[in-house]
Symmetry: C2
Subunit: 389 residues, 2 copies
Amino acid sequence: MSARNLLVAHGGGPTAVMNASLAGTVAEAQRQGAVDRIFAARRGIEGVVANDLVELTSMSGAELERLSQTPATAIGSCRHKVTEADFALVAATLRTNGIGYFLYNGGNDSMDTCLKLSERMDDIAVAGIPKTIDNDLAGTDHSPGFGSAARYYAVSTAELCLDVRALSIHVSVLEIMGRNAGWLCAAATLAGEAGPDAPRFVLVPERPLDEERFLASVEKEWSRSQGFVVVVSEGMVSAGGRELGAEGGVESVDSFGHRLPGGAAAYLAALIRTRLGIRSRSEKPGLLGRASAVLVSDTDRLEAREAGAAAVRELSTGNHGFMIGFRRVSNKPYSVQTVRVPLSDVANVERKLPNGYIGDDGMSITPKFAEYCRPLLGPSPYPDYFVLR
Amino acid sequence: MSARNLLVAHGGGPTAVMNASLAGTVAEAQRQGAVDRIFAARRGIEGVVANDLVELTSMSGAELERLSQTPATAIGSCRHKVTEADFALVAATLRTNGIGYFLYNGGNDSMDTCLKLSERMDDIAVAGIPKTIDNDLAGTDHSPGFGSAARYYAVSTAELCLDVRALSIHVSVLEIMGRNAGWLCAAATLAGEAGPDAPRFVLVPERPLDEERFLASVEKEWSRSQGFVVVVSEGMVSAGGRELGAEGGVESVDSFGHRLPGGAAAYLAALIRTRLGIRSRSEKPGLLGRASAVLVSDTDRLEAREAGAAAVRELSTGNHGFMIGFRRVSNKPYSVQTVRVPLSDVANVERKLPNGYIGDDGMSITPKFAEYCRPLLGPSPYPDYFVLR
């Protein structure tokens, strides 16, 4: 008889709903006759390599519910790139613990790891659960984690606009996560649906920055209306391809060789101050944007849970080598279904913001994006603010 | 017959509950027979100088409730220092609009303006409503705005700790508002009540930073446990008295001559990276910390509303020249009462974090502070996180 235990691990940066996927996986595995015991690796693939597992077989419904409401990851994660030497240790851990099913919840890099494991472990059914606030995973309409981060930025940007407009003394530059893709910056424009104001300029990495044109636009806007918000991606690049205001130093590259972003907003605020003489400041919520529990999208949380459950269902019916993706069946009313996407279509592919979502001026977002994004923020996307007319 | 209209204005940076004080003022003035019409100045004292008022006499209960739930300020604010020439214009506006009662909602600088108006306008009853997230106003146990910002930082820091611990690859340095006072940095330590972890080091302006001692402490802590949070005040100063990582340039001083803080966290993260070779990053939510509606403390909102109402009650019984303050009657159960504080005791006084709330090592906060702060966060201060044991 083949091994019937299931192992789940987390890869890469946490999100607000990654634990919801874990809860979905555990709940579904408890239901499936094909699965005996349920294990999770501590600290992601590092825990698999080191055989550091924790058993979750008998988690209660109440525990799973609380787990669903908790941001980040309760079992830990890592950014470890699997080496040749690691694969033998991974195989040993899987054999030792009678693992027949292995689920990896992560983004691009994790799906690459997942693909390699799938190709090398013939006797183990391997699959991926999507996760990224950046929304840059291929093969899916969107990824769990994005809707909640999008809601965080839409609401936070609306509140920042309220604040900046109330005081009317500065340009606030808000730095938004998303690595090399502008999806979350685009989500900040939904602030205009939440409150009386929206960011005046949206700078995404898909459109490298022409500083002179940007400064001229800010100066013109300031002459019309003092006190507005600019949003900029943490991964923003200059026209020359250099990252804006990157925090330098030895630790600016992660173990996958990706540059660590950050500093773009502080750079632009200084530029506005020194070049235009306009008071400017920067806000960089950074990791807070992916860790917020109170701003979670209920739709995102439900879908994250469903992605974790669907992966178990597919594995237990004999499928493997896939990542769960979402296909949008309809937008009004919003409806999605889970699909299997070949891991080879996903691994290491970076999905950028499509041209149709970026305005012709390269510093704005089209209404078409709002149609795409709005349902992902959940049934009550925005607070109801009072605005004096 | 003396003038019977009331004018209210906002001064300085917005908070999450400043509009709640406005709602309290309007609702109470609607009830008081001594008040005829209710006006608010747009953009704070600038609107008084320019006679730019809006009438709020007939706001409905539903509108006042929505106003209470909206962060920032619906009528606008400013950072304008009143000049001699302005006083004549202010007097004209008050006379033109039949103003007998003038309420100014603000912090230290605004209470200075309030005092000057009170001294010069014999025929107008002037009073102040306290407002500051920094909690640095004298003469009161705490100020409306602080409890909500404290809750924002306590919960956000707990979630940042969850995230940073899950990944365990870096030191995150979180920059917290509060100007020259460490109250909000201290509030971040309540993260330990909210989640499984608390910041390991808390750097407040009341204790200038010894960089070498700090670096040695971080290095030692890192050797024990990788992945932790440091919080630092935006107004943090070095042992030499220089502001840490201040954003330079022409706009770094406001119209009151105060230096604009910011950049301390990015500075420390770079220091940790370059000097210790430990991966480090910074988060600076900045204005988001005072603008969040979803993390508002219900206690803070109620008290803000009560402060606005109490000021009107006191004015209409003939008192003036005071700021409303809170006196803590009991801590268990938490109970406060409003008191009148002479404006001269408040204007331009900056209340720092007392020595008894700062640990002997100068980089931690004592349990005594938690006793003081906990009730201000409201009846359900923290989310209920799941933690794997």
